[in-house]
Symmetry: C2
Subunit: 156 residues, 2 copies
């Protein structure tokens, strides 16, 4: 039987919990390795974080303003402090934009960034999944640098 199992506030809190953990992973990297270290030809963790930043607020803005402008992952953030400041700037913007999306809108198709036409709920679940995916990669970078990552279940 069909059941409604998640509200907008619950998903927002869930995402912000993940974002708090991702912030801790950024902090765990030494400055140099954050911008230079990678494995197997992959991107640095700084580049992955810039991708996350260029999706979260711009993606929600696209949904709320019904704009299909493309994304730009190449943000001018050059230090760990730059990344953390951008991360913290995004936090209240995400809260504000997310809560402007109506129940009906979550169900409607939207051509995110002019490229990804899916129901809004799927687009937003993708934001979260993509963050968990890339952060998992960051965990391997940290472990291979002999740095203990934060506990996965800590979300405050």
């Amino acid at each position: 039987m069909k059941a409604n199992i998640l509200t907008n506030e619950e998903l927002l809190n869930h995402w912000q919990g993940h974002r708090a953990l991702t912030r801790r992973v950024i902090e765990a990297f030494p400055e140099k390795e954050l911008f230079e270290y990678s494995i197997g030809g992959m991107r640095t963790f700084a580049d992955l974080v810039k991708e996350l930043l260029s999706i979260a607020v711009p993606g929600l803005e696209g949904i709320v303003k019904n704009s299909t402008e493309g994304y730009n992952h190449n943000l001018p953030l050059k230090t760990k402090a730059d990344l953390l400041n951008a991360w913290d700037d995004a936090t209240p913007k995400i809260n504000d934009l997310f809560m402007q999306i109506s129940e009906d809108r979550f169900k409607e198709d939207f051509n995110l960034f002019g490229e990804y036409k899916f129901p809004v709920i799927q687009n937003i679940l993708y934001f979260v999944d993509n963050e968990v995916h890339h952060r998992g990669q960051g965990y391997v970078y940290l472990r291979s640098l002999n740095i203990e990552p934060p506990f996965f279940w800590e979300r405050e």
Copy 2:
């Protein structure tokens, strides 16, 4: 304003989409590296997959049967074929168990595996997040082995 944004069927489909991708990541590993390769002292991808298998069906069974028995990650699966068969065995069981959980039950606290007392919806979101997290680690293992992982957005 409060909005219901996800149904049980949608979350189940979302999870099974992720499971289809994780299956493809298992397939991408060479037999030997699946069971022997790791980075930074982490577990092998086979061990991570055994963890996922020991959470999904046993976790849902615990919820449905209201049993707080502990988990056992140490499954007797010795080959890639063993892992893939166990993965495929779990697929219809997950569908069946998941749909037995009522709307009210998703909101109730449950002491999963006798250790993790959270609302059922949070326990199940954790199953999915944990899978995405560990699979992201598998992507790094594959890249460092010079093997192209499947596309992250392929979920069929």
